[in-house]
Symmetry: C2
Subunit: 377 residues, 2 copies
């Protein structure tokens, strides 16, 4: 439950983590100067116009939101140097697989969806050639410009057949909640390649998006941070009640970095509303919590610290964490979660599900036998 | 935890409730044809232009959102007839005090704030003359047009000195989260008259408000219903991190009809964020949960049904329910909560706090000795 403050990974990793894990959220650096070699010439001189900062350039934590400790010695951006990612994260924490998520959220709030799609493709190519090709532990996320769903689907068709690209990746900031029929082409493409659809906190209220809360804009970074659950909640409710999981019975969805335990009361009340008003939604055939359990996964960082262990365990159980929760570190962001401190001590089976098995099953990652809790340690 | 479906109050109230209670949310009917005698002549022929329906005329439940059983025999609207409110709610459930909240939410999303303020004043006068004057158990809410804070403050000055008007009342739908400095004149007025500021679910995404979620508009009523917590969460977070409770140390806030247990993980994560980033907000001197406990109250309807009693009790404790939770029925809405079924059996002291004492203290209501659990039964 150590989820706040900057924690230099070195400090806790004097001994290598014995059991291997899967880290579902590693932000390699993917700004313009890094992906530009993969961009069509016409966009070369054109910085991503766009995003606009809804909240007005909120502070964030660390240095530009990143851990000071993760800045390479040559001063290049945190997350831009594979060798440092290896020595700070992959090696000491015995990361058997690490899912790269980049940090190109801004393209999703650009008015020019074609430009945004070009950036998404460039970032994907950069990730494939400069990261995945250089470390077999890494897997990539297919960034898409979801504001133009058919272009997003085309990008999934372009790289979705690769075994090293394991999910489709979008921001929580959106023009419409993600269950809206508007996005159908993206979900069709996800299902064609058996790729989870992952929603990661980002660009709420920016550019083409409406204000970051249903009650308008907030004034401080800490408010946007504390309000991540409300935006993600809109997506979860929309997925369930728009019947997405009946229309796409194989679709899996991952909710990333909006907190964890807000989901629990949300499931309770969705089940109640469904029982009361299911007549209005004939497509939604099962209690919402059943769809959640089968189709939705949640990542750990940042998980809420509770006042005591008893309620923490009850919340995990109410979340069906043994099936739904997956560890991620959020490296190299300032609020990085060490796998050794992110959660309190768990019984072996649950640890294995959260730190390894749930992600291995979701992403179809073969067991490499490098020391997985459940099997070998 | 019986929170869904229409439950005719008659069916359960064959015996009168022995202990008296306070009901914090009774929606008397306050549409144009009822308050028009109190409206300035220039607005008489002018129906409330305005609201616009964000989500596009969602279904709602019951008949127009109201219980069929609460429609008077002459066919007038549910909640329009005091005698029926008395015989269905106040008498059988031994309601010592009932707080009227009306249903004129639409004025809060009107572009013409002056017209909205005129409607608010008319509704307040109608409530005072036609309801409060006719039953000593009833108390009124000062409806204000919060989109023009100085007009809202003027309305509070006009009627806030009356002992029968016990709170200032606004919708959760808003142009800005309620902690924004924009609203300061309203809070100053609240403090002048020692009146709580009550936010009740309503008109999210309508008229002058941005879409009802930070991720855009949803398509069905059930989604707006399941997403009430996200809008209310924006207000709670904004109150805390904008330092409202440091600037107005006597202000009390009531969160009404957005659910209950979403507050708990929200408090957990706010405390974490505050510990991590309090340097950004020097005005916020204490952990958010401490402000919540002292300054914020939550009403019961609709409270989430949990999978088992153990976690229900833990959630109540984590909410500090003994200090913060207050019963309300939401009469005559279709999802009315009977005081006999709204919550599982509680130990005496907690029952007394939730069904009587917390509201009595908040609203300064003198004990009438009509059979309060904690004192006489």
């Amino acid at each position: 439950m150590q989820t706040v403050g900057t924690t230099p990974p070195q400090a806790e990793s004097r001994t290598k983590l014995k059991r291997s894990i899967i880290d579902c959220d590693i932000h390699h650096y993917t700004a313009h100067e890094y992906y530009k070699d993969y961009l069509p010439r016409r966009y070369l001189e054109s910085p991503p116009r766009a995003a606009g900062s809804g909240g007005g350039g909120h502070f964030n934590g660390g240095v530009g939101g990143r851990m000071v400790d993760a800045i390479p010695e040559d001063g290049s951006p945190a997350g831009s140097d594979l060798s440092l990612v290896q020595s700070q994260l992959l090696d000491p924490f015995n990361v058997e697989y690490g899912i790269l998520t980049g940090d190109s959220f801004g393209l999703q709030s650009m008015a020019d969806g074609e430009h945004a799609a070009a950036i998404a493709a460039a970032v994907n190519d950069y990730t494939i050639e400069q990261w995945l090709a250089r470390d077999g532990r890494l897997r990539g996320s297919i960034l898409v410009a979801k504001q133009v769903p058919h272009l997003a689907a085309a990008e999934i068709d372009r790289v979705g057949g690769r075994s090293d690209m394991v999910q489709v990746f979008v921001s929580s900031g959106a023009m419409k909640p993600h269950g809206n029929r508007f996005y159908d082409p993206i979900f069709e493409a996800c299902c064609r390649y058996n790729l989870p659809f992952t929603i990661h906190v980002g660009v709420e209220g920016n550019g083409i998006h409406s204000p970051e809360t249903g009650a308008g804009r907030v004034a401080h970074y800490i408010e946007t941070r504390a309000l991540r659950p409300q935006n993600m909640m809109a997506h979860l409710v929309s997925f369930i009640f728009e019947g997405v999981f009946e229309r796409f019975p194989d679709l899996k969805v991952v909710l990333q970095e909006a907190g964890v335990f807000w989901v629990v009361p949300c499931l309770w009340q969705m089940d109640q509303h469904w029982h009361a008003e299911r007549a209005q939604l004939p497509l939604v055939k099962k209690p919402p919590s059943e769809y959640f359990r089968k189709h939705v996964r949640v990542t750990t960082q940042p998980i809420e610290a509770t006042p005591n262990r008893a309620i923490f365990d009850k919340m995990l159980a109410s979340l069906f964490a043994e099936e739904t929760l997956m560890f991620c570190s959020d490296y190299p962001h300032w609020d990085f979660d060490s796998p050794q401190l992110a959660l309190p001590r768990l019984e072996e089976k649950l640890w294995d599900r959260i730190f390894y098995r749930n992600a291995a099953e979701l992403y179809g990652l073969p067991d490499r036998g490098t020391g997985i809790g459940g099997k070998q340690s």
